[in-house]
Symmetry: C2
Subunit: 189 residues, 2 copies
Amino acid sequence: MELLKKRILVDGAIVDGNVIKVDSFLNHQIDIDLLKEIGKEFKSRFQNEKVDKILTIEASGIAIAVIAAQYFNVPVVFAKKTESKNLDKETYESSVHSFTKNITYTIRVSKKYINEGENILIIDDFLANGKAVEGLLDIVNKAKAKVTGVGIVIEKGFQKGGKNIRDKGIKLESLAIVEGVEDGKIIFR
Amino acid sequence: MELLKKRILVDGAIVDGNVIKVDSFLNHQIDIDLLKEIGKEFKSRFQNEKVDKILTIEASGIAIAVIAAQYFNVPVVFAKKTESKNLDKETYESSVHSFTKNITYTIRVSKKYINEGENILIIDDFLANGKAVEGLLDIVNKAKAKVTGVGIVIEKGFQKGGKNIRDKGIKLESLAIVEGVEDGKIIFR
């Protein structure tokens, strides 16, 4: 997606060698015009697939999922990272390790909101080691639902998450794949 | 907002006497059609106000803020509840106590994304004791920005958050105000 790649080059930053910082337009401050284009692009890439529901994970995945859901005309479900009185007791759970934050946490989705046989599109902002997406795939499997595909805004192609998901035969669409950083400049695949 | 009140009566649930559970359409599974109507309603209620940016807090506030932002045509900034490598070192911070989760946490917004003199509309899903909104107001004040108003989807009118904010002279628009629960039925103000 050229608009996104240009924006990453103009406004993205590299931190600690391999952290791509896009908090000026994607995951802290959010440019709504860009987000709408991202939503339309996901719709275009999955236009031939059956999508009953979009599944994402809090927090920054939510913004992308709800904007995209307008174009698919389906509900969104977001997996929760924290326990809450408001969450049902009956949940599908999975463990996710975050390399960025160096913690392992449990993600949960109420059993009411993913049903057997539903076609689920997973959407998230970043794909690096792929642990969050693997946790969501695990939840979809536990619910006996089907994975339509995975839509990612920015994939870090130099980490193994993308390859692992494609190796499972899952349709993975990443709107920008960063191959690496050379002389402080982001190189796309 | 009649559409919202009807939906709360049909699909909302009461847990532990005073927790209003709307996770089937608002804060776990999200009905996008309803969310768009909520976004339009906020635009209508603040149509005469100057709004440069919408500020919310992760996680469930994000969905509402980004959909609303489409109608205001402004960016969204969401306050973060957890520390992250990706967050700038220079942040405005505030402490927020959650009665639902019984913890106090620090919310943070990068100093880059709220600027002196900007007109900020605060949006969140729930208002009960008002601690999250007070934290956001504190951050807006620290940034020397202006509060245009506060937009809330569901206010629990039997708790003190709404009164406290209105007593400050801030324009608070709650799309549904729950006055209480009688015989297991939700009563609106």
